[in-house]
Assembly symmetry: D2
Homo-oligomer: 431 residues x 4
């Protein structure tokens, strides 16, 4: 049997919860009916919304201070895929996995076979030039002082080659996009020439882009700081946009919700990128201070809703953009499987709430500068308790009404804890 | 005599200070000589650097809570020009004034004559669509809900016409640029459609741009927030850049140092805009929290230096860009004349320090990733006490060695306090 | 008739909405029942929760750039009380008004009579030493360089006397507390001696405290910045706490939600102040960037919920503290009456949601370090759509089911617009 | 000879630089003389100022993403002490080392002997309960969910015992203080009860304090966030102060310059803590975004100067407080020895500049509210290029005029690189 979650378990879990769900769903449906909205139509839209999970997300994350592993940590990509299958089996929102090379390097045929057996597909590929890979004979040079923007052409070449290798693996397993995030930057004013570093980055990115298969996209991901603490080469959406324009039609901007300066209006950046046609996708997570990589919707759920409000507002332009939705989180104190199930659900919650905004009324109030009614109309969507819709979407797709409870009931974690001995040594957490 | 500062006063002020200045200048010159730098060449470069003062800056500023006017506040543009002349006579760094319409509206011929008599010129013009102008028959509509991005085409038209009138006045007095800063935005999520507001803004800006004289430039000035507190239409350099690209060859981005999110690396934005060829100019000031509009170099002098480091680094590309350097500050607790004299001096200080960086050594260390020596080489410029260079540049141009002391000795403030009765009523401060 | 809202209007408004409310209330009640919670008990707790409105809040606010008044602005404290009565008649959550002296200065007997006729009481008094009051013969000295912390003892004395006069007015009208917020601080490093300024402030506050009636409290309100832009004398809760300790048993700390540094965890400050027994009260509002003074719950509703979670968690300690709940907002683009109705409702919403958290379960998960279930248990309260509870509480107290709709239907704004001619001149907005 | 830096090397390095230093020192002396200041007196004060280096600072730091070790990394505390000796031999500003237990655990007699041989002493001890120590039989329990504030009394007890063990080691080697920094907090709202966690922390800290030798102090170190990303138990100076008060006379607050919210006025916190008598010491470093742990004075040198301005202003109160000055940095891209030499020098630079402020003039301008002259008087100190004073202080103490150049000339790094094989494996960087 491909996945560890047997369908009988899910059925047994759902059975006693069905009646209450049906009642709550009916009640909410009646409420929406009054507003002229068909709940089933919304449920279908929600059910069609998928978000990819990151292979590295099923391991426990950490900080530069420490990493505290949990029991049953996956020891390699195949065990990670097992965990991802559990997430999708229960939550039915995450049918694709985003790989990270070289961490997940394996025979592509094996990867593909395993994923197919588990009912999973592969989303965007992620390269890694922010760590050294001393055991990889193809990466002998250090990225201590940069990768794609390094002053030394040989290091840039190595980083380009690594990205192309990542693309090649991705091509073999059915991925269609490469996400490039680099840690390049500087810790001290003067350490790096801000202009020349960007030119070098653009040059290297052009080489990668030239090496992409015809039907691939490349995502440039910006980040304000960390690991570089004075300047970062791709520091904000402005630089990410300049990059995407320079690289041409295959290049798009990826928005990670935790990579912005304090107080920044992220949903407005989404709106701007939609307009330019360069919105490539998202790395979802939540944060209060920096790139905290917390579970989506746990710090500022209204902000997540506002991002989805822009996406729903974008309408047909969004269909053309077809953004790549991914989670990128660091699970330091929770069971990673549970956090990913929850986060996918929160993302769908924000989407459902955005779908339920009375958009015609909203536009009318906006046109009339009725700030009060426009604001209230938008919040009316957010205030709705849409959990019945989310549960129904899961249920109808074969998932669990309460997926975290079902996961706990499954005994999966205890089982793999027995099978996967703890890795000795911890150190700072790479995420 | 055109200006209130008689040259005898300056000479009397300078006389007892000359010897010490000469000694300090010689000492610094000898020190620079050791590094192979000619102090006189640097002094000449500094002397050639001018920064415009804002006409509104010579009045006392305020906050939304209160404005506390000082004695002798100028009552109109002609008295403001008198004050600006004092600033330039003493500091010799600010030969041009930036006007704000409708505040400074007057017969262009009179403006020109007055300025010429005072030895002043006019820099970029500033329009004002963030306040209502109920006494102006050409501006009957309110900007409460926006101006160039308003949902009502009639308001947008009014705002466009106002900008074109501002250009017309500027053309008559020898200005060559229009700075457009709008307060448009929203206070509540949903109040405004983020995408449509930007489209309307672009449409209006295109009309203004079409109305520009052939040799004019238009500057788009971004600001993160205030007066709008949820979203601002031109919120960051990314949106400002999109605007400048859309508007074409005459359009450029203006960077106000106080209009960014917390922690943002402003000098990197300067570097990016230099690269795109869209850096239009600066509004200098300093800030710790928000758009505090404090005197340049008083909160973070190293940051100001780093901005000038990028400008010096830009080299010949900067000559092509020919940025417009302006001060934009709110003087709430100091004599505005003194604050503007000081700020111009601080700006020149940062420029002088940036000129004194051993750039060949810096580039070498950057190339070799010697973060320590690169950082120290840059800071070596900043650590230099270049006051003798600044004083010498003033002195040789006919200004005061210690311009604030000379101003205080001049009795100018007491004189105008007698001539200019205090305006009744204060209220919040418009700046 | 005391208030402009006739009870017939409210009944006519409620009639067609009652059935739906009853159904939604019953549905929610049944849902809560399943969790062992009695909806009526919660509704009673919510109904007992009152928050004071600020007299200045019924006028249109503004920024330093502009103020755009709306129609029918109240011209004095008696018209302001009329507006406050409308807010309370419709929303039934705001039975008390917080006055601001000297803005609201009037014969105390008249104030009391008017309030009684309108069914209103008076909450904490607010003094004003952040503006000059040139027409007040008792306040001839300027606060430009500070008030209670001014270097000049005569200015401090004047400020102390003003506070004592404010207390005297408050005593005559039944208030029991004085809120002291000062704008004292500095714009430049060095302008003010940070230590001596605080000593002077403490000295002046002690004089005020000595002058308090026996049953009064004094609230120290901190703020990070604005109007001072380099340092503020009472900059954070730490300094506010030092103040309250130094002043003794009558002194407490007031928390304004918009007066903190970016990213600060406000609910934790509430928790700390609860522990010290020095939590005095709140100024509710919401903000994204600085002290934006936006409507409560419009920017980050989850944060407001978390503040109330701490208050509910405080349990009996809160009864002892008996905090003063007030709104402090600036209504720049909405009808102030509508914003205050909405804000009071949002505050009650956060309270209701906090009451609905399964606290026993929460504590159990916390004790077991089950981060996932603890987090989900807390969010389960927030996710509930408690609008039926809020509406029911209003309805049973004689208010409107949809108070903003009822206000619009009342024609009140049009009526007062006809009675209250617009005040000429706007300028920056004092709020 | 105990240290690797032979005194001949330093003399050979200094010889060709002496003449220039003498000239620059004389010139600066003459300049200060004009202001009535004796340069030699300042040099003596600077020479008397020492700052401790952290033992962990001589290893390469890292981020959660990666650590890029440099050559010759010390493999244990004895090699770390060798490196610390080099720093002090060349810079003559860092005669004491701050140890971190269990990282630096060794026989106290050996530690003491080694330090004495190298001319070093031991400053405050640091405990570590933010990482697990699975190989330490006395620390079998995990700190994943906290240490001194853990819900489980057994974990708290273990953490207390570890702190007491750290004190015992410190006592044996002549230390007189314990710095307690914990990573305790939570990543999700609800995960931890904010109030109870603080109570548990206080309880545990009291036990540690009770175990302190009579002449010891304990420092409570606050931090806004990281490794906890929603709440931190000791999140700001307010909570640190509450802690120090609760613990009594031996407890003080330690200020790390990188542990504050964005935009916070750190020098004002120093001023407040001086007033309360609870300022215990500093962890110096610099930062732009978060706890970046960069070299002191490299991001905002003016801020560092303002901190020292408060210390100089504190006068005799500071003598009574006798703060502990330590560096706490993470050296990710520089040679750690060079960074520590530089940072100590920058700290002394700020001190020297603060000493050179004309304090009588400053106080006069403050008293008169002459914001301009007060601000300029303060900045006049900062603008001075005091490098000759710093170099002279080093030279006279037997150190190097240009200590980084001397270090490079010494060949020390190459030598130890040969002796200390690289440690296999890197991972995230613990700092």
């Amino acid at each position: 049997m491909p996945s560890s979650i047997d369908s009988g378990l899910i059925e047994r879990h759902n059975a006693p919860l069905r009646e209450t769900l049906d009642r709550d769903y009916a009640t909410l449906g009646e409420k929406l009916d009054r507003r002229g909205v068909s709940i089933d139509a919304v449920t279908r839209q929600v059910a069609a919304f998928a978000v990819a999970v990151p292979s590295w997300g099923v391991g426990t994350g950490g900080t530069r201070f420490a990493r505290f592993p949990g029991p049953g940590e996956p020891r390699g990509i195949f065990e990670k895929l097992d965990d991802c299958a559990v997430i999708n089996d229960l939550g039915r929102a995450t049918p694709a996995v985003s790989l990270h090379i070289p961490w997940d390097k394996a025979d592509p045929a094996d990867l593909k076979a395993k994923a197919e057996a588990l009912g999973l597909a592969f989303d965007a590929m992620n390269s890694n030039t922010f760590q050294d890979h001393p055991d990889d004979p193809r990466q002998p040079l250090s990225y201590k002082f940069g990768s794609l923007s390094h002053t030394d052409a040989a290091v840039r070449r190595q980083a380009v080659e690594h990205n192309l290798e990542t693309v090649a693996i991705g091509e073999a397993i059915g991925s269609k996009a490469l996400t490039v995030w680099i840690g390049d930057g500087s810790n001290f004013a003067g350490q790096s020439d801000l202009g020349r570093a960007f030119e070098r980055y653009l040059g290297a990115m052009k080489e990668i882009t030239r090496g992409l298969p015809a039907d691939w996209r490349i995502f440039s991901e910006h980040k304000m700081y960390e690991p570089a603490f004075y300047s970062t080469v791709v520091q904000d959406w402005g630089t990410s946009y300049l990059t995407a324009v320079e690289l041409g039609d295959k290049a798009f901007c990826l928005v990670d919700l935790g990579h912005h300066a304090p107080n920044v209006n992220i949903e407005q950046i989404v709106s701007r990128l939609v307009r330019t046609g360069k919105l490539g996708g998202f790395h979802f997570n939540d944060s209060k201070y920096g790139d905290d990589d917390l579970d989506a919707g746990t710090i500022d759920p209204f902000r997540l809703f506002l991002v989805f409000n822009e996406l729903v507002e974008a309408g047909v332009r969004l269909d053309a953009l077809n953004p790549s939705y991914m989670i990128d989180q660091s699970h330091n104190v929770t069971d990673p499987i549970e956090s990913l199930i929850r986060s996918a659900n929160e993302i769908r919650r924000a989407y459902a709430q955005a779908l339920l905004v009375d958009r015609a009324a909203l536009h009318g109030h906006q046109e009339n500068n009725d700030a009060m009614m426009a604001s209230e109309t938008l919040k009316a969507g957010f205030r709705l308790d849409v959990e019945p819709i989310l549960a129904k979407a899961r249920l109808e797709a074969g998932g669990a009404i309460d997926p975290i409870a079902a996961f706990r009931a499954s005994g999966y974690r205890a089982k793999v804890a027995g099978e996967r001995p703890a890795v000795k040594g911890s150190g700072g957490g790479i995420v």
